[in-house]
């Protein structure tokens, strides 16, 4: 951490060409790539700067800046300007303008801003994304998708197989049936096979690639800015993007009603958990849900909802790798349970709202 601050401060001095220390205002939680963003305030002008430092990143910051260009025609007013990008003491460092200190995620969870304001911001974000998807539709080519699902699923699988949840090493019970709160489901192994059956969409879309409230910075007058462009690209599967918009809430905002239990019992992986999404956050998730009908001009058919649930299940499994970064290790059993249930039920169980993407009601 102190190394990141030292490098970020050095970069700020290099860019400003001044000896006075810029004031460090905030350091973000790390993203899944390990990148950290420090927010600085200039002592004389009060201008804010976001300093992103990465080392050994899969996507170089130079390439991330290139990927930002893909979004410009659609989100011109919602993308911060990049001001500076260099290598400092082994770190790639990018400094961009910063029009707000906090992310939408932070403000929703921590601030005293009324939810009516924040919901309006989230609604605008969601609608802007759907406009981008609709106006950029073209024939989908899976192999060109920046988040190429077969590779992504393989990485997730590798991560899950090395995970330990509630003291149980998942690799050791990979093929055991899973019992969640008394209901039996297929094994982790079979759940991955079910996820892999995801179908192909008719159209591909341009998208940010990781659209979620932690990547939205809120500025003055409810203006918002989209950051972290490393997965941006032209051939996204909108159903995967929708799964991220929807599934982010369970992974990052659910709360535990009681402590979870994970054990192996009579050749079963047994999980007992009780997690829920607080009621005041449900309207945000409902807005994410509405993107499906905006894209589909009506509620999606069963197979589309099934595929969204397959992407959701992959997201839940994938997030197991990052819970530690967000100090949410205690949610691992719950996230694992939801991954298993979602992969098996594909939204057919109406008693599990908010964690699965619902199926159309006849």
């Amino acid at each position: 951490m102190s190394e990141i601050v030292r490098v970020a401060t050095k970069a700020m001095r290099m860019m400003l060409g001044e000896q006075d220390d810029p004031e460090l205002v905030l350091i973000s939680f790390p993203g899944s790539s390990g990148a950290r963003v420090s927010i600085f305030r200039h002592s004389r002008t009060n201008s804010l700067y976001a300093v992103k430092c990465v080392i050994g990143s899969r996507i170089s910051l130079v390439d991330e800046i290139g990927r930002r260009e893909i979004l410009v025609p659609y989100l011109r007013n919602n993308l911060p300007q990049v001001l500076w990008c260099q290598v400092v003491d082994g770190f790639e460092v990018m400094i961009s303008e910063c029009r707000g200190i906090h992310t939408l995620h932070y403000l929703i969870v921590n601030s005293d801003m009324p939810h009516s304001h924040l919901l309006a911001v989230w609604k605008d974000v969601v609608e802007s994304l759907v406009r981008m998807w609709k106006s950029s539709q073209h024939q989908f080519q899976e192999s060109l998708c920046p988040r190429f699902f077969p590779t992504r699923l393989r990485r997730i699988k590798d991560g899950v197989s090395s995970a330990v949840v509630g003291g149980v090493k998942l690799a050791d019970c990979w093929n055991l049936p899973v019992v969640v709160n008394g209901n039996e489901y297929s094994s982790v192994s079979e759940s991955f096979e079910r996820i892999a059956r995801v179908g192909k969409p008719a159209k591909g879309v341009i998208c940010h690639g990781d659209p979620q409230p932690s990547n939205i910075v809120v500025g003055e007058d409810d203006a918002w800015y989209c950051v972290d462009w490393e997965w941006s690209g032209s051939h996204h599967d909108w159903r995967m993007m929708l799964a991220h918009l929807y599934g982010w809430w369970p992974t990052r905002c659910s709360v535990l009603a009681s402590e979870s239990v994970v054990r192996v019992d009579r050749d079963r992986l047994v999980i007992e958990h009780d997690a829920f999404i607080p009621g005041h956050l449900r309207p945000y998730q409902d807005l994410a849900l509405s993107t499906a009908s905006m894209m589909y001009d009506g509620f999606p058919d069963e197979e589309t909802a099934n595929d969204i649930n397959r992407f959701l299940a992959a997201l839940y499994f994938g997030e197991l790798r990052f819970l530690g970064l967000w100090s949410r290790e205690g949610f691992a059993a719950s996230v694992l349970a939801q991954a298993i249930i979602t992969a098996n039920e594909l939204g057919q169980n109406e008693n599990n709202p908010a964690f699965q993407f619902p199926q159309r009601k006849e």
Binding site: G56, R58, I59, S60, V62, D63, I65, G66, R67, R68, E69, I70, V82, W84, C85, Q86, V87, V88, G90, E92, Q141, S143, L144, C145, P146, F148, P150, T151, R152, G233, S234, H235
Partner: protein
């Protein structure tokens, strides 16, 4: 040119990729366009984090573009440029050899005709030729072997862009560098002959034109200015692109504790440029 160094898996991967990526550039099979793959995939040096580097040369009336895409989970960087622009980056060094330099690296061409292959060879040779001749002049050498020629060309690239050293170092430390060096000597010689940079007499070569100090100075500055201007422009107008490129190159050497190997490589190149006759690694 370097097909023998690329394993079949990578070759098939790139062949599949260019079929899918053709739409990104707007080219079609049979329209005179062709592709050049360079970078880590050619020498099987890629990792899970590597980019696939491609150059698409076409006949479309489009300005030079850098396109970022993906293929089967790998990030892809495509430079798309018109055939005439590519040609002019050889002799005229319109872009400071930004593309002429890329085809001096080990590369494999796809969907190309003999005419396309000749063009690639000529552009590379025409771009670096005068600078290579200047390297020979500095050594007071009037005739050259193939090994001299390729060493001249690499040193000439260091002259234009000292940070290229860290990229060449990746080749130098590869286990099959001896074979690679021999192939580079053959390819470079062919390029110089195609571009009319050297005249051949048996196993010996003679540069047609040895630039004066003043010529070298001016053409070096012009090439460097054009190279970095294009680089910044193609990287989203990043004014910091040159600094980023330079620092990244230096960092590679530091991170991998390669300072000694870098010095050894430069000694090797100087030896290869100075001594006649030796084609292999000494």
């Amino acid at each position: 040119m370097y097909r023998v160094f690329m394993n079949q898996g990578n070759f098939d991967f790139v062949a599949r990729a260019i079929v899918c990526l053709a739409d990104e550039v707007g080219v079609e099979r049979g329209d005179g366009s062709f592709w050049v793959c360079y970078g880590s995939f050619v020498l099987d040096q890629q990792t899970a984090e590597s980019d696939l580097d491609l150059l698409c040369i076409h006949t479309l009336p489009n300005a030079v573009r850098r396109i970022q895409s993906s293929f089967e989970g790998y990030p892809v960087t495509i430079y798309s440029l018109n055939r005439n622009d590519f040609m002019s980056d050889g002799r005229q060094r319109t872009f400071g050899g930004y593309f002429g330099g890329k085809v001096l690296n080990p590369h494999v061409m796809f969907l190309t005709s003999q005419k396309g292959r000749d063009m690639v060879a000529e552009v590379g040779g025409a771009f670096i030729g005068p600078f290579s001749a200047a390297m020979a002049t500095k050594r007071g050498r009037s005739v050259a072997t193939s090994a001299n020629l390729v060493a001249d060309s690499v040193l000439a690239r260091f002259h234009l862009c000292p940070w290229y050293r860290s990229y060449f170092l990746r080749y130098y430390i590869s286990t099959n560098f001896q074979q690679l060096w021999e192939r580079m000597a053959e390819v470079m010689t062919l390029s110089f002959l195609k571009a009319g940079i050297v005249a051949q007499n048996g196993d010996e070569f003679r540069y047609h034109h040895m630039p004066s100090e003043e010529e070298l100075h001016e053409s070096t500055l012009a090439a460097a200015a054009r190279f970095w201007a294009l680089g910044s422009s193609l990287h989203g107008g990043m004014p910091d692109f040159p600094a980023f490129y330079m620092q990244k190159a230096e960092q590679y050497v530091i991170d991998n504790n390669m300072e000694d190997r870098l010095e050894e490589m430069i000694r090797f190149l100087n030896t290869q440029s100075s001594q006649g006759g030796a084609h292999g690694v000494t």
